[in-house]
């Protein structure tokens, strides 16, 4: 079973995981928004 009690090093480990989750979140949201935006724009222009 996973042990989430990281003792005296928790102040280093959790921020490392938190920043990793944040950066991955930004990369995922950024990639999806970029693709969605330009797909809609291309479809709009093609429809004109």
């Amino acid at each position: 079973m996973p042990d989430l009690n990281l003792g005296k090093y928790a102040e280093y480990i959790w921020p490392a995981y938190g920043i990793t989750a944040l950066v991955f979140g930004l990369l995922v949201v950024g990639a999806l928004r970029h693709a969605r935006h330009w797909r809609r724009r291309a479809e709009e222009l093609r429809g004109k």
Binding site: I13, P15, A31, R41, L45
Partner: protein, 240 residues
């Protein structure tokens, strides 16, 4: 048999392939990450590093991928430069922000690991400095592309910069052997250096990061293809 890169060089085939491959790689990445983190947090503390060994499961994959993504950026830039292939240029452009993000993560998680182990957030060590240079190459690539209005010229200049930056990759890799470094050597390359209780979750996380990059790269290339189609359609509409 058609080689994969040639098959994917056709934008229509690429869009058809990436439509199902991107979400599939994403699901694989999440599954592998869950398994890797579960095993990683179930592993015992290291006898020297204590619980900080768990930072390894996110730091090492980020560092490996930071270099791997730069190889992808370099190869795509070379193909774009030599063959003037639009999809190769889109692949290079799409790889850069992902590589920058992963290199940033390697630096930050390394710093958070170094503070309790070395007693310092940062040292001007050969490995750390060469990874910082790698990050600066990514930032310079993105800045160069953004600063030139003519897209063809921007692509050419950025591709040349990306190829110059490839010189840094062997320096990053061999820095711990060429110089007296505070950073440890590669445990993954040395057989038996890492016990299975750490090696298995680490390999799972490496694969998770690889699949995650694959998914995000495909999504970003798709976005680039749509952007170029939209801009071409806008030019056609303006002329009509």
């Amino acid at each position: 048999m058609i080689p994969a890169p040639a098959f994917l060089a056709n934008p229509e085939r690429f869009m058809a392939f990436s439509r199902w491959a991107a979400p599939l790689f994403g699901v694989i990445a999440v599954g592998l990450a869950i398994a890797g983190l579960w095993l990683g947090f179930s592993a015992p503390d290291d006898y020297q590093q204590g619980a900080t060994v768990r930072i390894m499961f996110i730091h090492v994959p980020a560092a490996i991928l930071a270099m791997f993504v730069y190889v992808c950026l370099g190869v795509a830039s070379l193909l774009a430069l030599v063959f003037r292939h639009v999809l190769a240029d889109a692949a290079a452009q799409a790889a850069a922000p992902l590589g920058a993000g992963l290199t940033f993560l390697a630096l930050v998680t390394g710093s958070l690991w170094g503070r309790p182990m070395w007693g310092a957030w940062w040292v001007w060590d050969a490995r750390l400095t060469s990874v910082l240079v790698l990050f600066l190459f990514y930032v310079a690539y993105l800045a160069l592309r953004a600063s030139i209005d003519d897209e063809a010229k921007a692509a050419r200049a950025a591709a040349i910069l990306a190829l110059v930056g490839l010189i840094n990759l062997p320096i990053v890799h061999y820095s711990v052997y060429w110089w007296n470094s505070l950073h440890q050597g590669s445990s993954m390359m040395t057989k038996g250096a890492l016990p299975p209780v750490y090696a298995i979750p680490l390999h799972l996380m490496n694969l998770a990061y690889l699949a995650g990059f694959g998914s995000l790269w495909l999504v970003r290339i798709r976005g680039e293809v749509w952007r170029r189609r939209a801009e071409a359609a806008a030019v056609r509409a303006a002329r009509a």
